[in-house]
Point group: C2
Chain length 85, copies 2
């Protein structure tokens, strides 16, 4: 595995696990008032396309981490819709 | 420009502009209580590494959009630190 792939995996690890504390915080507080609904709608759509892009250029880091990020972002989107302002 | 690059640009456009409504919302409400500080610290670090990764694999979409996303995410991080809970 070359240096770029390793860096891509580390970068993807960080931008993916970043959403875990947000999921935990929102779950605990049951408050999502300050989160932008439009942000998470656009973000989930974009991450889905990044995943497709990853398949097209055959780059493992792009594919792998975007799948996990999509799941976490969808959870936050669900919380935003569930926990009314 | 091939199909993958176009898709990458569209994907990057969406995951980047996604942060704009969050910046606007947080600026207007002056409230960032529900945003996770840890999320934005990890996210900004990860996006910085994605940018470096983009340079290493020479993929324009990865480079371009991560630079802009980094700026927007840093603004939200600044708001989170400025607007005390």
């Amino acid at each position: 595995m070359d240096a770029a792939k390793i860096l891509g995996l580390v970068a993807g690890f960080l931008t993916t696990v970043a959403f875990v504390p947000q999921v935990v915080k929102t779950w605990r507080s049951k408050s999502a008032r300050d989160l932008s609904l439009v942000m998470f709608l656009l973000f989930c759509t974009g991450i889905f396309l990044w995943m497709i892009y990853g398949f097209m250029i055959n780059e493992l880091p792009v594919i792998l981490w975007n799948i996990i990020t999509l799941v976490l972002a969808l959870i936050i989107l669900f919380f935003k819709l569930r926990f009314k302002d």
